[in-house]
């Protein structure tokens, strides 16, 4: 029964990705300007441009081009970037890797940052600590991420020159260098994600703590700590997982801002540059990857929810 549900979810995920590729393709089709001109430059000859167009199948009807691209994709051929004529795979991998590491660091900071304040607030519901933390999280959630990044920059680079201004890591940076480069961008990302999750977790936890079965556990004489960790938290965490999935998407895309502010060479800036330079194949691949992150994060969140919530394991009545 679980397998059927899982298979179904995977199928819908694939469908979504297909739709994303279609949407991107359509959007790119609408991009004005002649691709050949922007690649070869304004002063290139018409014959050269025509040759390039032929090579890139630009003259073919859009539907054919779409299926051709899709076909190549499924065979693992990602094609060449238009602007640099390098293999897309070669451009992608280092960027994806960097962003992955950055994301991992961000998640590492994010989990405790979201969990502990939320629990503290829920347990001391409506007391001064709760109000203070609520206000703090609200303010932090309202500050746009680029502003937050800049503020952190000012504090930790200008006021207390502890960390480097630019987190430009290259192949030659050592571990210490990596760590120092990661701190600010990862913290920014973590804070942005954590405030949302912490607010939601607090609300859910408070709601769960008022649920009848929690009252029953108290009436049976069980101690508070046990009730909190074994009876309440597992239930409250479930919606937070969905938020975490959404947050992971944020990592894939919104990281653009952070990368720009701190100069971190990652996937986000690659995506933006691709659009700026009308590098059509690169656009399509990067957007697809970003979407895939969201879709798989959601899938993962759904599966973990299934595990934590035994009620869903039965076939839907």
């Amino acid at each position: 029964m679980i397998l059927r549900l899982v298979a179904l979810r995977c199928f819908t995920a694939a469908l979504t990705l297909l739709l994303v590729s279609a949407i991107t393709f359509i959007a790119v089709e609408l991009l004005p300007g002649d691709v050949a001109t922007s690649v070869l430059g304004q002063f290139s000859s018409e014959t050269a441009r025509a040759a390039l167009r032929m090579q890139l199948h630009l003259g073919d009807p859009p539907l054919d081009r779409y299926f051709l691209w899709l076909n190549n994709l499924l065979h693992g051929d990602l094609g060449l970037a238009l602007s640099s004529r390098r293999r897309i795979v070669d451009i992608l991998l280092p960027r994806v890797a960097s962003t992955l590491i950055l994301s991992a660091a961000a998640v590492l900071i994010y989990v405790p940052l979201a969990l502990f304040p939320a629990v503290a607030q829920a347990v001391r519901h409506n007391r001064p600590l709760d109000h203070t933390l609520s206000t703090v999280t609200l303010i932090l959630a309202s500050v746009p991420d680029f502003l937050l990044a800049l503020i952190l920059l000012v504090i930790f680079v200008v006021a207390l020159p502890v960390l480097p201004a630019v987190s430009a890591v290259t192949d030659t940076t050592d571990l210490a260098g990596w760590l120092r480069a990661l701190v600010l961008p990862a913290t920014t990302l973590a804070v942005v994600m954590a405030v949302y999750a912490a607010r939601m977790l607090r609300d859910n936890l408070i709601e769960v703590l008022e649920a009848p079965h929690i009252l029953m556990a108290r009436l049976r004489g069980l101690p508070n700590w046990r009730i909190l960790w074994f009876h309440a938290l597992p239930n409250a965490i479930i919606p937070t997982l969905n938020i975490t999935a959404l947050n992971l998407t944020y990592l894939a895309g919104g990281v653009v801002i952070v990368e720009k502010v701190f100069g971190f060479p990652g996937f986000g800036s690659l995506m933006i540059d691709a659009i700026r330079f009308r590098d059509v194949p690169l656009i399509e691949i990067t957007v697809l990857i970003a979407s895939a992150v969201y879709v798989s994060a959601n899938l993962l969140a759904d599966l973990v929810t299934l595990l934590l919530n035994p009620r869903l394991r039965q076939a839907r009545a």
Partner: protein, 699 residues
């Protein structure tokens, strides 16, 4: 354990709630005590404060409530004066609690066995996990759960309502407490399950000497289990007496009215002493709170505070006029709700022929492709005549709602035919003409859900009017006012919204909404279940009157046979999707019975007393039947053997138009039923169905 003179003593307990409207006194100077091994019942309408009292016995009040005065003493200690850790010692260990809704009384993400183990180990009743597991197994067997080993590992949602409640009881008594507090433990369970739980509790008391406080709104239930009963109204304890005395000579006007509204097989009328009006917390006089609704009040009742006075041995009443009120007698009279002579037969109004519905796929085509073809409803044939009230009775899951849904077009039958007024009736709603939709109206179980909370009553009622009968506005307003009057609601209610009315009033609006379309058939799907017992009576009267005055036919779905006795012309009994007995209502209450009908009858407290049958159905849920045989074979006390499992039972008819689907021949059913009714059977061990004795006696 110290032998205490009293298990618990409540002394002048007063509890206030803070609501948006100011303070409400939920419990007002309530005092009573409970002796060891005694079962005290506490009865009252919703809002009477009984649940608050129940919780207080565990030292708990809601977060918005405060204890203003009084004490709750258990073993000489006042629970409300105890520090937290001492209170935690009492909770679960010396005082157990069984909640109203078993589903919410268990944590959904932990296995049920683990929950018992947790409690046992925390209170030190078991010193190791193995010991605790043994205890858990023992407890589960004690409460009558089958296959305790496998059940221990299940999650709450995998159990039925009755099983969940047994688990809650098991956890509550696991640490051998002296006192058990039960807050409406069987509300929301099937009538048959209810009866079994009550038996279990009586058993527990006999075996372990535990005392109990049983809180409920169902007075009839208390007659089965309680030694003494206390009646609460608007936070005050208005009468308290041994059960027999309370039922034979109730002294307080409110108690009398409550007792009068219990639907009873014997009494054909409800008597003149029914409850009128509603508890309005805002308008309570300083003296007796029942004054606005009391038929015997005089003006001084409103001003003078009523205190409990002695009205007999161990019998106390809080009414200054108790000695002046004539004692209530049982009334037997001719029934005013006589069946309307069926109109000269113009054919059946609606007919179902061999209708079957498969779970999860309605319609002819989707049913074919379903892999699991468990039928919800199989081979149903029934017919309702114009202006007839037909009742359909069964447990939850028996398929009665499904039949109603098939009739109104929500679910299309997978096989079989339906006819309405001699013409073929479309299964799918989409294919039905508007006028057909008008003629078949549906009233839902829960009026909170069936009325749009954002629409005014006038708006709600105008929608069907405008849809079916285009008419000028003034005319429409008049019709709406008439519609409200028909259901005995003041026409000024047009401007109100559903959340400004009580549950009973909302249900009346739902009925009015159906009625305003001038339907030929009204499908009433458990319309009483969400209402208090006292309000149910008035709705039943309303439906009977509507049928008399407008000639509308009614399909009345219920899980309670007692209720349909006074309302329905014909009744069908449904079990697991099959009609097992059907006929004029009166014939169902006399032998011959289908074994399942008998089980339902036994669950009615008053009837059970009369029959005095001790055959307990411990065979519940233990045998799976093949689809080929009789659906009831797994539970049937007259199980004949292989024939019941293999062959579908035949439909046997008596002369009175009364049919029973059973392999056991009618004569034997008649004989067995008569013997049981005369109370001449006695049984050996309580848990063994003495089938042979019955069969021998019957031949």
């Amino acid at each position: 354990m110290m032998p205490a003179s009293k298990a618990v003593e409540v002394d002048g307990l007063t509890i206030d709630y803070e609501t948006g409207r100011g303070r409400v006194r939920a419990v007002d100077a309530v005092s009573f005590s409970l002796a060891p091994s005694e079962i005290l019942g506490l009865v009252g309408e919703s809002g009477s404060g009984k649940s608050t009292v129940a919780m207080a016995l565990l030292g708990h009040v809601a977060t918005t409530a405060r204890v203003i005065g009084g004490r709750v003493r258990v073993a000489e200690e006042d629970l409300f004066g105890l520090p937290a850790h001492r209170l935690a010692h009492y909770r679960g260990r010396r005082i157990g609690f069984v909640p109203q809704n078993p589903a919410t009384g268990l944590s959904p993400n932990r296995r049920v066995g683990a929950q018992l183990v947790e409690v046992a180990m925390h209170h030190g009743v078991a010193s190791s996990r193995e010991q605790a597991l043994l205890l858990a197994r023992e407890q589960f067997t004690l409460v009558g759960l089958p296959n305790p080993d496998s059940l221990l590992r299940r999650y709450p949602h995998e159990l039925s309502g009755g099983q969940q409640q047994r688990v809650c009881i098991a956890i509550a008594v696991a640490c051998r407490p002296e006192l058990l507090v039960l807050d409406e433990p069987t509300t929301g369970l099937d009538v048959t399950t209810q009866a079994r739980i009550v038996d279990l509790l009586k058993d527990l008391r006999t075996k372990s000497g535990i005392s109990m406080l049983y809180v409920t709104h169902d007075l009839g239930l208390l007659s089965q289990i309680a030694d003494r009963v206390g009646v609460m109204y608007a936070g005050k304890l208005v009468e308290i007496a041994p059960t027999e005395r309370l039922f034979s000579t109730p002294r307080h006007p409110y108690s009398r009215a409550l007792i009068a509204s219990i639907p009873n097989i014997d009494r054909v009328t409800y008597g003149r002493h029914r409850l009128r009006g509603l508890l309005q917390r805002r308008d309570l006089p300083p003296g007796c709170p029942f004054f606005p609704r009391c038929d015997y009040a005089e003006s001084s009742c409103a001003d003078r505070e009523q205190r409990l006075e002695n009205a007999g041995v161990d019998h106390q009443v809080a009414c200054q006029r108790w000695s002046q009120i004539p004692p209530a007698g049982l009334e037997n009279g001719s029934s005013p709700s006589e069946a309307v002579a069926a109109p000269a037969s113009s054919g059946e109004l609606i007919e179902l022929q061999n209708v079957s519905l498969v779970y999860g796929a309605s319609g002819k085509w989707r049913g074919l492709f379903r892999r699991s073809r468990t039928p919800v409803v199989s081979d149903i044939s029934l017919a309702i005549a114009p202006a007839e009230i037909f009742a359909l009775v069964g447990e939850s899951g028996s398929g009665k709602s499904t039949i109603a849904r098939a009739m109104c077009g929500l679910l299309a039958p997978n096989s079989g035919r339906m006819r309405f007024r001699e013409e073929s009736l479309q299964g799918r709603l989409k294919r039905r003409a508007l006028d057909i939709k008008r003629q078949i109206q549906y009233v839902f179980q829960n009026p909170d859900a069936s009325l749009n909370p954002r629409e005014s009553i006038g708006g709600l009622l105008s929608r069907p009017l405008r849809l079916y009968f285009p008419m000028p506005r003034a005319e429409g307003r008049r019709r709406i006012a008439d519609g409200l009057l028909d259901v005995q609601l003041d026409p000024s209610y047009v401007g109100r919204r559903p959340d400004q009315m009580s549950g009973g009033e909302r249900q009346r609006v739902a009925i009015a909404r159906a009625l305003v379309a001038q339907p030929a058939l009204m499908l009433c799907d458990e319309v009483l279940s969400a209402l208090d017992v006292s309000v149910q009576a008035s709705i039943i009267d309303l439906l009977a009157r509507l049928r008399r005055e407008t000639g509308v036919a009614i399909l009345f779905i219920s899980h309670d046979l007692a209720v349909v006795r006074h309302l329905a012309d014909r009744t069908g009994v449904l079990f697991a999707g099959t009609l097992v007995e059907c006929g004029p209502t009166g014939t169902l209450f006399e032998p011959p019975f289908h074994p399942y009908t008998e089980e339902l009858l036994l669950a009615i407290p008053a009837y059970r007393k009369r029959m005095r049958s001790i055959i307990s159905a411990t065979r519940s849920e233990d045998r799976t039947t093949t689809r080929r045989g009789c659906v009831y074979a797994g539970r049937c006390r007259l199980y004949l053997g292989q024939v019941c499992d293999e062959e579908p039972p035949p439909w046997r008819e008596t002369a009175a138009g009364h049919g029973i689907r059973c392999h056991v021949p009618l004569e034997k059913l008649l004989a067995v039923g008569l013997i049981a009714a005369r109370g001449e059977i006695c049984c050996g061990a309580a848990n063994e169905p003495r089938l042979e004795t019955l069969q021998c006696a019957a031949t």
